[in-house]
C-alpha cells in the first residue's frame, strides 16, 4: 500500500509540473490575458497599461513568471484572480464544495439505478429485462449532459410550476445518464461472469438463496471494475458540471471555469487546472485503495 502511494504521488508530482507548465506556456504563447482587452480601449493610456502590467508582473519573461508562480504554488498560494481580486485558492475552495456535493448525489443516483437494474436482470432472468437493460444502456449513452439537462429543464418548466429549480436533484439527474450507461453495462456483464464462477456454484450447493448468492457472493467480485470506473468518472463529472451548472445556474467549479475562460483570467484558469488534476488523481487513488480492500488479490498483482 505504501509503495503504491509513493509511486502514485511521484506520478502526481510529474503530472502537476507537466500540466501547469503546459497550460502556462499555452496561455502565454497566445498572448491572452485579462489585460489584452484593454489594449484597444482609447481611454486607457500606455502608462496606465504599463503600470498594470508591472503590478501583475506581466512585463517579466514567461520562464521567470512560471518559476515564481510555481514557487508560490508549492506553498499553497495559487496567486490572486485578476477579475475577482480574491486568492484563487479561496475561490476554488468555496466553489468546489458545491460541485463535490453534486458529484456525490450524481454518483449515488447512477450507482443505485444501474446496480438495481443489473440485479433485477440476473435475479429474475427474463428476456424483457434483458431487452430493457440494453435499451437503457443505449439511450442513456446517447444522452449527453447538455441534452439531458435541457430536456429536464423543459419538463420542469412546462409542468410543475412550483418545482424548486435550484435544488441539487435536477443537475444530478441530468449528469447521471452517461454514467448509468457505463455502470449498467459493466455491472450486468460483471454479475453474469461472476455467477458462472466456481465459488458461486459452491454457495448454491450449500443451499444459499439466490438473492444472497448474488448480493453477498457475486456482487463483491462484480464490484471491482465498478470501483475503478467510479474513480475514473470523477473527471468526466467535473467536465459535465461545466454544462449542468451553467444551465441550472449553480455556483460550482464548472460555472467558475466558464467564467475564468470568458474573462481570460490566467491565474484562475491555472488554479482550476491544477486543482482538477489533483482531484482526479485523488479519486483514482482512492478507487485503487478501495479495490484492494474489496479484493485483496488485486494488491498482489500490484506488487508483481
Amino acid at each position: 500500500m505504501l509503495r503504491l502511494f509513493v509511486r502514485k504521488a511521484l506520478q502526481l508530482a510529474i503530472l502537476l509540473v507537466g500540466v501547469s507548465a503546459g497550460a502556462f506556456w499555452l496561455l502565454d504563447a497566445a498572448g491572452g490575458d485579462a489585460l489584452a482587452g484593454l489594449n484597444e480601449n482609447p481611454n486607457i493610456s500606455r502608462e496606465t497599461l504599463d503600470r498594470l502590467q508591472q503590478i501583475y508582473g506581466l512585463d517579466r519573461p514567461a520562464t521567470a513568471r512560471y518559476a515564481s508562480w510555481a514557487a508560490r504554488a508549492l506553498q499553497g498560494d495559487l496567486g490572486d484572480s485578476i477579475t475577482l481580486r480574491l486568492p484563487v485558492t479561496k475561490i476554488i475552495a468555496a466553489r468546489s464544495a458545491e460541485t463535490f456535493k453534486l458529484a456525490a448525489v450524481t454518483l449515488s443516483i447512477a450507482l443505485f439505478t444501474s446496480f438495481g437494474l443489473a440485479f433485477a436482470c440476473v435475479r429474475w432472468s427474463n428476456p424483457i429485462f434483458d431487452w430493457f437493460v440494453e435499451f437503457c444502456v443505449l439511450v442513456s449513452a446517447s444522452l449527453p449532459v447538455i441534452v439531458a439537462s435541457l430536456a429536464l429543464l423543459a419538463v420542469v418548466a412546462s409542468s410543475l410550476r412550483g418545482f424548486e429549480i435550484d435544488s441539487l436533484i435536477l443537475p444530478a439527474l441530468s449528469l447521471s445518464p452517461p454514467l448509468i450507461a457505463v455502470f449498467l453495462a459493466q455491472s450486468r456483464r460483471g454479475l453474469d461472469a461472476a455467477l458462472k464462477m466456481d465459488f458461486v456454484t459452491t454457495a448454491r450447493a450449500k443451499g444459499v438463496g439466490e438473492t444472497a448468492v448474488i448480493l453477498r457472493h457475486a456482487a463483491r467480485i462484480a464490484l471491482n471494475p465498478i470501483i475503478t470506473l467510479t474513480g475514473l468518472s470523477v473527471g468526466s463529472l467535473i467536465g459535465g458540471s461545466i454544462i449542468a451548472e451553467s444551465i441550472f445556474g449553480r455556483p460550482g467549479l464548472g460555472s467558475l471555469t466558464v467564467f475564468a475562460v470568458r474573462s481570460r483570467d490566467v491565474p484562475l484558469v491555472m488554479g482550476i487546472v491544477v486543482f482538477v488534476s489533483v482531484a482526479v488523481w485523488t479519486a483514482n487513488f482512492a478507487a485503487e485503495v478501495l479495490q484492494i480492500i474489496n479484493d485483496p488479490r488485486s494488491a498482489d498483482s500490484e506488487r508483481a
Partner: protein, 367 residues
C-alpha cells in the same frame, strides 16, 4: 476458443446460419440502423443548401419568435387540398409575441422551389430548394423562427453541417499526430519514450472539456466563424493525441516482440519496411476503434463550447449556440419542442454513433 465452446449441433447451427434471431443477435440490425442515421446526417450536411428553405442568417424582423407553421391538408371550410399548405401568419400582439393565422389565404407548399442562390460543391450555381412556400411573400417555418426572425429549421440544417466539420477533421488530425508520437515513442530509447508518455499522461489526467476550455482561454473570445472552426480543430488536435499515442505505443511494443516481426528482422528487412508492412497493418483495428470513441467526445466538445459562447458564434448557427436559446426557462416553457429540436438532433446523432459502436463490440464478442 478450444475449451468450453461446444460445437453447435445440426438444428442449432441451422438456426444460427439464417433466421431473424441471428440477425438481431449479431448486431447487424444496430449496425444498419446506426449507419443509416449517420449517412442521413452526412447527406443533410453535404446538401444543406438544398434542404434549407431559407438563408440561415437572413433576418425577418417582422416575424420574431414565430411558432412552427402547421402543415395542413384541410382548410377552414373543411375542404381537402391535395397539396399541403400553411396559413400566412400575422403578428397579432407584438408585446407578447402572439401570432394569428390568416385563414382566408392558404399558401401551398411547393417542392423544388426557387429560393436564395448557392453553389453545389462550389461549381454549379443554382437556387433550387427542396421545399418552400409557393408564394414568395409567405414563410414556411417548420420549427418556427428565432427571436431575430430567422428560420429555425434552416439554421438547424446548417448547424448540422458546421458541427460535422470541426469534430471529424479534429479526430483525423489528432489520430495522425497520436499515431506518429506513438510510433516514435515505441521505437525510441527509454528517455524519449518516458518524456513523450509522461506528457501524454499529463494530458489524460484532465477531463477533456476542462482541457479544451483551458486551451480555448488562450485565444481571443470573439472570432469570425471560419477561424473559430479552424481554432477548434487545432485545439482538438492538441488535446486528443494523447490517448491515441498511448494506445499506438502499447501496440507497437507488443508487436515488436512477436515472431513474425522477429522473422522479418532475421531475414534482414529494413526497419521502415517492418514498420509499414508488418506492424502498421496490425494496429489498424484498435486504432480505428479509438478514433470512433474520440469522434463523439469532440462533437460534444464543439457543441458545449458553442453553447457556452466560445465555439462557433452568432450569426453562424451551430447545434450548441442554438441550444443557448433553450436555456431561457420562460421561453422554453412556451415552445419546448421547437427550442429543443437541436437537442433531438444531437440525441439522434449520438444514438447512431452508439449503435455502430455496440454492433462492433457485439461482433467482437461473437467472433
Amino acid at each position: 476458443m478450444i475449451r468450453g465452446q461446444p460445437i453447435p449441433s445440426g438444428p442449432e447451427r441451422k438456426m444460427k446460419a439464417g433466421g431473424l434471431k441471428r440477425f438481431f443477435q449479431s448486431g447487424n440490425l444496430s449496425l444498419t440502423a446506426g449507419a443509416s442515421i449517420l449517412f442521413l446526417f452526412a447527406f443533410v450536411a453535404v446538401f444543406a443548401d438544398f434542404f434549407a428553405p431559407y438563408n440561415p442568417t437572413e433576418q425577418d424582423r417582422s416575424m420574431p419568435s414565430a411558432p412552427a407553421s402547421r402543415i395542413r391538408f384541410f382548410d377552414s371550410n373543411n375542404r381537402l387540398h391535395l397539396r399541403p399548405f400553411v396559413y400566412r401568419m400575422r403578428l397579432a400582439n407584438p408585446l407578447f409575441l402572439r401570432y394569428e393565422e390568416a385563414t382566408d389565404s392558404p399558401v401551398p407548399i411547393g417542392f423544388f422551389v426557387h429560393g436564395f442562390q448557392y453553389r453545389i460543391f462550389g461549381f454549379f450555381e443554382t437556387n433550387l430548394h427542396l421545399f418552400g412556400a409557393a408564394d414568395g411573400n409567405a414563410n414556411v417555418y417548420l420549427l418556427g423562427s428565432d427571436r431575430l426572425g430567422r428560420d429555425r429549421f434552416s439554421r438547424l440544417i446548417y448547424a448540422i453541417q458546421y458541427s460535422l466539420i470541426a469534430a471529424p477533421i479534429g479526430t483525423l488530425l489528432a489520430s495522425l499526430i497520436g499515431i506518429m508520437i506513438g510510433l516514435i515513442s515505441g521505437f525510441s530509447p527509454r528517455s524519449i519514450d518516458l518524456v513523450l508518455m509522461g506528457s501524454a499522461d499529463a494530458m489524460l489526467s484532465l477531463p477533456t472539456l476542462i482541457l479544451i476550455l483551458a486551451a480555448r482561454a488562450a485565444f481571443p473570445l470573439e472570432l469570425p466563424p471560419k477561424r473559430a472552426i479552424a481554432l477548434l480543430i487545432v485545439v482538438f488536435a492538441l488535446v486528443g493525441w494523447a490517448e491515441m499515442a498511448r494506445l499506438c505505443r502499447g501496440l507497437v511494443k507488443s508487436l515488436r516482440s512477436r515472431e513474425f516481426v522477429m522473422a522479418a528482422r532475421a531475414i534482414g528487412a529494413h526497419p521502415a519496411r517492418i514498420l509499414l508492412r508488418h506492424i502498421a497493418p496490425n494496429t489498424a483495428g484498435p486504432l480505428i476503434t479509438q478514433a470512433t470513441l474520440m469522434l463523439p467526445a469532440f462533437l460534444l466538445a464543439e457543441i458545449s463550447l458553442s453553447f457556452l459562447g466560445v465555439g462557433i458564434q452568432e450569426p453562424m448557427p451551430s447545434l450548441g449556440n442554438m441550444l443557448a436559446e433553450a436555456a431561457d426557462v420562460s421561453r422554453l416553457a412556451a415552445q419546448p419542442l421547437t427550442l429543443l429540436s437541436p437537442a433531438v438532433a444531437i440525441f439522434t446523432l449520438f444514438l447512431g454513433v452508439r449503435l455502430i459502436a455496440s454492433a462492433r463490440s457485439k461482433a467482437g464478442e461473437i467472433i
